[in-house]
């Protein structure tokens, strides 16, 4: 009986929390959020600063250029503005690391004498740029504005236009659709400086991550398609997002060469 009472009280609490959680977007809908807030919220669901001590997840990058398929799996460690992606499979790529210090990216392969600074714009694999693999920090990197409200796959979404704040970010311009319901990015178009679309992306959020005891949506799949050749696709499948404590040393470039 006591157990039942505990169960019931837990259930009520859970319902209350879930009610609160589901009420939150409703309140947001009532008053228009600022573009910055919207980007911060959507960034969180893509791994950015979700948890202060850090988080981890796995991502499998599957690329298909129409004739060749390849796949590499990375283990991600993220803390604040730093991230470390370490390839775990296949064997040939195992141990390759990409370290994200703020907007700087370092690439390292076992056996190399020094790490190599690489550009977030450079293609990592297929259509995925280096900058796509780690956490997304659009709020930091882009100046955004809400330009319209549109339906994307039946969902109401804010259409945003993002412009790069700095040169060394992954893209110059992005059109970004953020779901009104969950405040997560559900669709993106990546544009060149001249405004031509060169890649399209869609996002799914079937993962959940525990943030302060709350289960919040976390990206589960990002599909990137070449705008000129739709056969060229790259899919990033995200797994096991979890809070994790990462020491700062993990993100020190000098520790890559061991």
């Amino acid at each position: 009986m006591k157990l039942n009472a505990t169960f019931i009280s837990s259930f009520i609490l859970a319902c209350a929390i879930s009610t609160q959680l589901s009420a939150a977007p409703a309140q947001a809908q009532a008053s228009e959020p600022t573009p910055e807030d919207l980007l911060k919220d959507s960034d969180r669901a893509r791994g950015s600063a979700a948890v202060a001590d850090g988080i981890s997840w796995e991502v499998a990058v599957d690329s298909n250029d129409g004739s060749t398929k390849s796949s590499v799996t990375y283990d991600l460690k993220v803390k604040a503005n730093d991230a470390l992606a370490e390839a775990t499979a296949p064997a040939r790529n195992k141990g390759e690391m990409m370290l994200f210090n703020d907007r700087n990216i370092w690439f390292f392969k076992p056996g190399m004498k020094k790490p190599l600074a690489i550009s977030p714009r450079q293609k990592l694999m297929g259509q995925a740029a280096n900058g796509d693999i780690a956490s997304t920090n659009y709020a930091r990197d882009y100046e955004g504005k809400i330009v319209a409200t549109e339906k994307v796959d039946g969902q109401d979404a804010w259409k945003m236009e993002l412009k790069a704040k700095a040169k060394n970010v992954t893209y110059d311009q992005i059109r970004y659709w953020v779901s009104k319901k969950d405040k997560v990015g559900i669709k993106a178009e990546f544009l060149t400086v001249s405004g031509d679309i060169f890649k399209r992306a869609s996002f799914e959020y079937k993962n959940k991550i525990d943030v302060g005891g709350k289960q919040t949506p976390f990206v589960s799949k990002m599909t990137i398609i070449d705008a000129k050749n739709e056969k060229q696709t790259t899919t990033l499948n995200y797994k096991s997002p979890r809070p994790a404590k990462h020491a700062d040393a993990v993100f020190n470039v000098n520790n890559l060469v061991r």
Partner: protein, 457 residues
């Protein structure tokens, strides 16, 4: 009889040149100066042609003939895997070449691009993976040495073929070395261990870049992933062109294949014993390839796609020299025409006298043509001497040019070429004789009585 007669006519024509010294001198000077200008322009064009052709064929490893998978020139950079030459392709080409004459050597080549880093900064690079088995022969070829002496002067360090593939030896262009802060090459640093730079923003970071000859390369491998490996700078060179001097890297074919994760190559280059027989050899090679490997094609080095800088530059220079040639032709035609017209009008009574005593119009024309020929010939001889002297002086003055697109400037060297001078002289002589012919023909056919009386004037 005829020879005697011609000799006398020639004597007369020769002596006639003294009759209006001032006019003939002015005409002669115009021709001589024009031809000197032509020789300077042609000397420059010839020099550039030789330098660029040998640079393209040898230093850029284009070879006299390039063998590619059909479509590779357009598509290799986009789909390298689909347009590369497999090991089987290479074997077929080897077998075909083995049975052919006029083949000096052949080599395997691959190109790729990516980022090169010094531990702190990275820059884009364009790499050539070269066949080390013949690299020594290619880079020390007598033709390259003869016309591109400056390349050797700007080389620092050792050559790639002095190191085993496993060493990861690379040569980088001078501009790229400067960007990376790699001031010294392997041989200058000895066995220095790679220096880790803990703070890339520290004031001493730049000094540390040059403390080792170690660099890292990253590139998208052909299997679609990001690849990287180390390299040791053993040499530094200049490409001579700004466009490539900040990006060019040469490494062994095996090293680049490792970076790009492939066993294929981009193309095979073939060098000929006798380059003048290129057309014949390539026709033969094409027919053999058509049977053995129709998906491969053989292209001459002059193909715009293989040597865009050469063809572009030479087209420009051809236009320039043609323009100077046209101006010279106009100067010669007008000078000689004017001189011959004046002369024949002045001497119309004398023409009448000659005609009266039995000289026919053809003979009269012959005398004037000989005069025109002698005048042009003497002027040309003076022009050639002046031209050679001017070339010698220009070469001695060590004038440095900084043409657009060329890094570091190049010394202006003019090279005389006997064939160009000979052909140029023949054309000028023809123009001279032709102009005279037009000027005198109507006069020598005039009514003799009118000529004698001076009524023609």
């Amino acid at each position: 009889m005829s020879r005697l007669f011609d000799k006398n006519l020639a004597t007369l024509a020769w002596r006639n040149l003294r009759r209006n010294t001032r006019r003939n001198l002015a005409t002669g000077l115009a021709i001589a100066a024009g031809f000197t200008a032509f020789m300077l322009a042609a000397g420059y064009a010839y020099r550039v042609q030789r330098v660029l052709s040998s640079y393209t064929v040898y230093a850029l490893h284009v070879g006299h003939i390039g063998i590619y998978k059909k479509g590779a020139l357009e598509m290799f950079s986009i789909k390298p895997k689909d347009y590369a030459m497999s090991a089987d392709d290479q074997k077929i080409v080897d077998d075909v070449l083995k049975d052919m004459d006029n083949i000096e050597m052949s080599g395997r080549y691959l190109s790729g691009q990516g980022l090169i880093g010094n531990g702190c900064k990275t820059f884009p690079f364009m790499a050539s993976g070269v066949d080390l088995t013949i690299e020594d022969k290619v880079m020390n070829h007598r033709t390259l040495k003869r016309w591109n002496e400056h390349l050797y002067k700007h080389r620092t360090g050792q050559s790639l073929w002095e190191f085993p593939d496993s060493f990861g030896a690379v040569s980088i262009s001078a501009g790229l070395a400067q960007l990376l802060g790699k001031t010294k090459v392997h041989s200058e640093l000895g066995e220095a261990k790679p220096v880790m730079i803990t703070d890339c923003t520290a004031p001493d970071a730049r000094a540390l870049f040059g403390a080792d000859a170690n660099v890292q390369f990253a590139a998208g491998s052909w299997d679609g992933t990001l690849s990287a490996l180390d390299g040791e700078i053993v040499g530094r060179f200049t490409t001579g062109l700004q466009e490539t001097n900040n990006t060019a890297v040469t490494m062994s074919l095996a090293h680049l294949q490792k970076l790009l994760n492939t066993e294929s190559i981009g193309n095979m280059s073939v060098w000929l014993k006798e380059p003048l027989l290129l057309d014949l050899t390539i026709t033969n090679l094409r027919s053999k390839l058509q049977k053995a490997a129709p998906h491969l094609e053989a292209l001459p080095w002059r193909d715009e796609r293989l040597s865009p800088y050469y063809t572009g530059t030479m087209q420009f220079i051809f236009v320039m020299v043609s323009f100077i040639g046209c101006v010279l032709a106009v100067v010669i035609i007008l000078s000689i025409f004017n001189s011959a017209t004046m002369t024949v009008i002045e001497r119309s009574q004398e023409v009448g006298m000659f005609r009266s005593i039995g000289y026919n119009s053809k003979t009269m024309r012959k005398i004037f043509l000989m005069e025109g020929f002698f005048l042009t010939g003497i002027s040309l001889a003076c022009g050639i001497v002046l031209g050679l002297l001017a070339m010698f002086l220009v070469n001695r003055l060590h004038i440095t040019l900084e043409p657009p697109g060329v890094s570091g400037g190049i010394q202006l060297i003019l090279s005389p070429n006997a064939l160009i001078i000979l052909v140029g002289s023949a054309i000028v002589s023809l123009l001279g004789v032709g102009s005279t012919w037009i000027a005198v023909t109507s006069v020598v056919r005039q009514n003799i009585a009118k000529l004698v009386s001076g009524a023609h004037r």
